[in-house]
């Protein structure tokens, strides 16, 4: 018999909650006197209903153990230190990209991701990350004209 997966049940409950939030937010959409045969609420209501029904169906699937996740071996441990390094890199990026600029923030992100994937050479990763980010910056910002903001290194390029 298939095992009931608590993770799948949590995902299904989360999905129902999303559906309820969408339903609530739909009820908050203001109606204008502007003429519209189908108002701005009709489609969102259908979507909200669909989300809630599908969430309940997911919950039923998870509860009855029919949800065959690709990860059959859910016992396989999640590598939390790796996720931690990834989370650190992403957080650093979003907090500091506006302060130190894209290149330096990306250098740290690059090294943190490399660490998450098992690299043990932080100095090398920082160096490669810096060069990679600088080249990418020049390519996208200078050649393609995409505004990547400014920063500590960017102002010299």
């Amino acid at each position: 018999m298939q095992q009931r997966s608590s993770g799948a049940i949590a995902v299904a409950i989360g999905f129902v909650i999303v559906g309820l939030v969408v339903a609530y937010e739909t009820s908050q959409i203001a109606l204008t006197p502007l003429y519209a045969k189908v108002g701005p609420k009709v489609f969102p209501s259908l979507v909200a209903g669909g989300l809630i029904l599908l969430g309940l169906a997911l919950l039923w699937d998870a509860w009855s153990g029919r949800w065959k996740a690709e990860d059959a071996d859910e016992s396989a441990p999640i590598d939390w230190p790796a996720l931690g390094w990834l989370g650190f890199g992403l957080l650093f990026n979003v907090v500091l990209i506006g302060v130190v600029g894209f290149i330096l923030a990306s250098t740290v992100l690059f090294a943190a991701v490399a660490r998450a994937f098992g690299s043990v050479k932080p100095a090398r990763d920082l160096a490669i990350g810096f060069v990679f980010a600088a080249v990418a910056y020049i390519g996208f910002a200078k050649l393609l004209g995409i505004n990547m903001g400014t920063g500590l290194v960017e102002r010299f390029l």
């Binding site: 969102p44 979507v47 669909g50 999640i78 992403l90 992100l109 998450a116 990350g129």
Partner: protein, 495 residues
């Protein structure tokens, strides 16, 4: 005929030095990302969407089309040499191709995949050339009601028919439609689902969703599950020249695969998985040496590879003639049309004749370039496979940052990116398909638009969807696609 003169005109567009360069860049980039596991054409085109502000539409679409075709070629190299399918459509190629490489026949496998891709890509593009105008003639009769019903059919087929679970597919689709509804409603000016965040008034950019789900989510998943760097890259020992027997066993499989891939790809259902699997089973049935299947039969590489490439051309038929994307890549291309202010649909072939025919002509040219790039230069691509995982995924996340931060230099977009990355991780872990999210996000608002148009014309009478015969037919097909597989299984179980 008219089609031929327009195609000739298309070649005149595609053969300008600038557009040739775009095509070459596209197929080069496409092959590279196709080779790299975890990177696909949908993600790459999403990351390159910002060039639509700089480059003219024809050049941009020739580049995108090159990436799209190139990724198909590159994906087969990875499947054969690494046994890690780069794309869902090359799973079948890995079955026999990797076995061939293990037996030292990797060169022949790569050759039959590349030549088969070329043959099928060319046949598929020919199909696109001659079928597209016919579909357009037919589609000009569609009113908003028919369009809405057609979109419902596409919604059902892309989410419920393919994949392991109809419920999870539909859940992904509805989530995507909801994401597409976020922002100001264009018809009434009302803000919807913005949670008081100013940045959300313009809606969520498809780049953020595609990059979040495909790049960030995939990276989180691989890091958390330690699924990287485990497979060994098999060396290519034999020559890339196929033997007489290889040719004899391959050419029919190429043609059969093409014949199967193009029509299935061109249906509003789309998807390359079904024709590749069908082709595999057909070749196994027809083979004179069925005992070789499972140990590296060349037909098992030739047929599915051809089916894969022909269906890739087929997917462009509904995309260019109806504005109906049936794969994540096509959905992102559709959003590129929108950012040029072009409305894809039956008028596209007339109003943007240079663009569409230039694009189609570039597919013929790109196929030739890809054959050259992938056979003699296959050693180069193998070297890309040797990039260590830490550096590869570090680079992918830096590119993800560029694609997202470059939209508006707003940390909100980055936060959204990471939230969607987390959702992508969960979707991957709990076996949800991700393509329906992208398709729902792009097609959902269009479906709402057509629904509103239909209701305005019919004075709010919903029955118009079932009283117009064509619309009713499409809805019935959608209903069959939704409950058919379930009933079929029920009936089989009872027997």
């Amino acid at each position: 005929m008219d089609t031929l003169s327009q195609l000739a005109n298309g070649f005149a567009v595609a053969l300008t030095p600038m557009n040739l360069a775009f095509s070459f860049l596209g197929v080069l980039l496409g092959t590279a990302i196709g080779v790299l596991p975890g990177l696909g054409p949908a993600l790459t085109i999403a990351l390159l969407l910002p060039i639509t502000f700089k480059v003219d539409a024809t050049g941009a679409f020739i580049l995108f089309a090159g990436i799209y075709y190139g990724a198909m070629y590159g994906g087969s190299t990875t499947s054969i040499l690494l046994n890690t399918p780069g794309e869902s459509a090359t799973i079948v190629t890995a079955l026999e191709g990797n076995k061939m490489a293990r037996r030292g026949r990797g060169g022949a496998a790569l050759a039959t995949a590349a030549i088969g891709s070329f043959v099928a890509g060319t046949i598929g593009t020919l199909g696109l050339t001659f079928v597209a105008p016919i579909v357009v003639d037919f589609a000009l009769r569609f009113g908003p009601a028919e369009y809405f019903s057609l979109m419902i059919l596409a919604f059902v087929t892309v989410s419920a028919v393919l994949g392991n679970s109809a419920i999870r597919g539909l859940a992904a689709l509805f989530f995507g439609i909801w994401l597409g509804l976020i922002g100001v409603d264009l018809q009434t000016g009302q803000a919807r689902f913005t949670f008081g965040i100013l940045e959300l008034l313009d809606g969520i950019n498809v780049i953020v969703v595609a990059v979040g789900l495909f790049a960030v989510g995939e990276t989180l998943y691989l890091a958390a599950r330690h699924r990287y760097g485990k497979d060994e890259i098999l060396p290519v020992k034999d020559s890339l020249w196929m033997t007489r027997e290889d040719w004899g066993r391959s050419w029919k499989a190429w043609l059969r695969g093409s014949a199967m891939g193009f029509p299935i790809g061109a249906l509003p259902a789309g998807g390359a998985e079904v024709p590749t699997f069908l082709s595999y089973y057909l070749e196994k049935k027809l083979s004179k040496k069925p005992e070789e299947f499972g140990h590296g039969a060349i037909e098992g590489v030739a047929g599915p590879e051809a089916a894969n490439n022909a269906s890739a051309a087929g997917v462009l038929v509904p995309m260019l003639t109806l504005g109906l994307p049936t794969s994540a890549t096509a959905a992102i291309m559709l959003s590129a049309f929108q950012s040029y202010g072009i409305n894809p649909g039956p008028q596209l072939l007339m109003t943007q004749s240079n663009l569409v025919w230039g694009l189609i002509a570039s597919l013929y040219i790109g196929n030739v370039m890809l054959l050259v790039l992938n056979l003699p230069l296959v050693g180069l691509w193998v070297r890309i496979l040797a990039i260590p995982a830490p550096l590869l995924y570090g680079g992918i996340l830096v590119f993800a940052t560029i694609g997202t931060y470059g939209i508006s230099q707003s940390p909100i977009d980055l936060i959204l990116l990471y939230i969607l990355g987390g959702i992508g991780f969960l979707m991957r872990k709990y076996d949800f398909p991700t393509a329906p999210v992208i398709i729902g996000m792009i097609l959902g608002p269009l479906a709402e638009q057509e629904f509103r148009r239909a209701m305005t014309i019919s004075q709010g009478d919903v029955t118009v969807l079932v009283t117009r015969p064509l619309s009713l037919t499409l809805l019935v097909l959608a209903a069959i696609a939704l409950v058919g597989p379930y009933l079929y299984r029920r009936l089989n179980a009872r027997r």
